[in-house]
Symmetry: C2
Subunit: 348 residues, 2 copies
């Protein structure tokens, strides 16, 4: 799992060279030592061959999703691009009601990247996959020349199973349903912003980067009529809610006073003129449940570390003129639009 | 499917900007107009929810594979990065005996990329997917700043089903089996080399980029004891055969005089000192079948355009000192090693 592995290294280089992407012996050595020794059982084919009995149950459906990760910096407080690439895809599956089973991981690596860094990222992916209960079963490595990409990009795809009878989707949201988030908003975005170092900001913040499949299963067990969920990643909670409300044909009313925010994130947003509703999260979701099941859902979430700060933030009402509005702390009301431009590039 | 679509464009830009990757309205407009209008049914969730009855048959297995594509130039004679990204993943599934069902497509796009180019690549992917009988069911888009990546990278992942009883894998290869390739070698590598324009070479060559799932099904129907197959991509036929021979514990003897090569490719290799055995292919595979089924496999391949030039190139014999040797046209014998360094970067 790391550079101190007892197995003697066959890699003569400390940095990735173009030969490591050439399809020959150098590539095979890199792949075996850095990737497959960590992820895969020995003798794996290029193609993973799998089955899970849950997938063959009557009414089960397969869920399939993909995301490319281009975050900079590659390592940041609370995570790195490897952990993020696992959490992001696990969460995309989980918020649709799927139980994540298998991930693929494809790397595009800039010539000159330190092999020790690659090994750290891969170890981090393996740790997060084990903790989320998913297996990384297949992968790919490409190397591009210096300047051909910025560091390392990772694309993960995920396959999961949606058990029979589960229909977790935006159109299920009904008027009167409540919106719950599992924790504080904006930690990931604020952490990346601070970690870039351009702002001479020093904060104790950490990314919220975490897998949410166990949390979703707990919610679904406690609130069997859970309607829909979405992870509030790029574009933040505001964009996730706009998408859900539009697809559901309702308006969501947010309560500003209920929004869970750390003092540090609030402060950073005030200084920089950012809106925490648009800051990216990587371990935060919003879930809509019927009002009658809200307390049960909250209790189930709060019983887990990933839902410790769970709180009701809003409610679905009949569709008004816009999809999302917020009742401000001063008793006013403002439109919460989708993010129009770009708040912070390469956040994930 | 193209820029002449009757739907009015909501994109105000002709080039991709960072806002198109920000998770907000600009991104949604880009994704809807460029990607989902072509690939996906309206109202698709971020997560695809799928089932195919073949996957629920007893003994069926799921095949899962991924590849990142970073080829340069993005468009070349015979294909483009979009077509390549579909063929490459379809073929990875097919050579393992899987019937490809669904693909994901994740794009990393450099700021400033022309939207018209993106639309051409996406249309090309849709055409190739339709022709191969697979569906592109989910995707992702990230935008990086100018210089953050070189043009467009596409990562496709594929899910397919291996019907019960099929075991197409290197360890199945037996001594006496014959190796068949479906067509001429090196066209893709030679085409990319010429298309880069650094060499002032003008050739009538086209990439062999094509989906091989129909060809594999034809081989499997005609030669039910087919042992193993591999597409001869990065590292060429030499690397594919080395991998197969090592995993099978045999030596493969190639017949130089049998290798199918175009005059143009032969000529280019002679001028540049390249070995066509190491040139990349994107629509060429090598398949091992029992000698008794070789004629049936050949006939089945030759009946299809993708197998028109199919020919026996070698044979598996008891393991000697090296995995692959070649009987030269002059009656000698030479070792065919794996590619050691890098012949041509960013070939796929």
């Amino acid at each position: 799992m790391n550079a101190q592995s007892p197995k003697p290294s066959r890699l003569r280089d400390t940095r990735v060279t173009l030969a490591h992407g050439g399809g020959g012996r150098a590539m095979r050595d890199l792949i075996e030592e850095v990737f497959t020794d960590v992820f895969l059982p020995p003798g794996s084919e290029d193609q993973a061959r799998l089955m899970d009995e849950s997938l063959q149950e009557p009414g089960a459906r397969l869920a399939f999703t993909t995301d490319s990760f281009v975050v900079t910096p590659l390592e940041f407080p609370g995570g790195d691009i490897g952990k993020l690439a696992v959490c992001g895809t696990v969460n995309d599956l989980a918020v649709g009601g799927a139980r994540p089973l298998w991930l693929s991981a494809a790397f595009v690596i800039e010539e000159g990247t330190e092999i020790a860094l690659l090994k750290r990222l891969v170890a981090s992916m393996a740790r997060e996959a084990a903790s989320a209960g998913v297996r990384i079963v297949t992968g790919d490595t490409k190397v591009v020349g210096k300047g051909g990409c910025d560091g390392v990009f990772i694309t993960t795809s995920g396959v999961g199973v949606i058990p029979s009878g589960r229909e977790i989707a935006a159109p299920q949201i009904r008027e009167g349903d409540v919106a719950i988030v599992n924790g504080v908003l904006g930690d990931h975005g604020a952490t990346i912003l601070a970690a870039r170092g351009d702002l001479a900001l020093s904060t104790p913040l950490e990314s919220d980067c975490q897998s949410l499949n166990a949390l979703m299963e707990a919610v679904l067990a406690a609130a069997p009529n859970t309607r829909a969920a979405r992870d509030a990643t790029r574009g933040g909670l505001a964009s996730a809610l706009n998408e859900l409300a539009e697809e559901a044909g309702v308006t969501v009313v947010l309560e500003e006073s209920a929004l869970p925010l750390r003092t540090e994130v609030k402060g950073m947003c005030e200084i920089l003129g950012l809106d925490p509703l648009y800051l990216a999260n990587e371990g935060t979701l919003v879930v809509f449940v019927p009002e009658a099941e809200a307390e049960a859902a909250l209790a189930a979430m709060r019983a887990l570390p990933s839902g410790h700060d769970a709180v009701i933030v809003g409610k679905a009402v009949p569709r008004g003129t816009v999809p999302v509005v917020m009742r401000t702390a001063f008793g006013g009301q403002r439109i919460v639009d989708m993010l129009v431009g770009e708040q912070l590039p390469r956040i994930c």
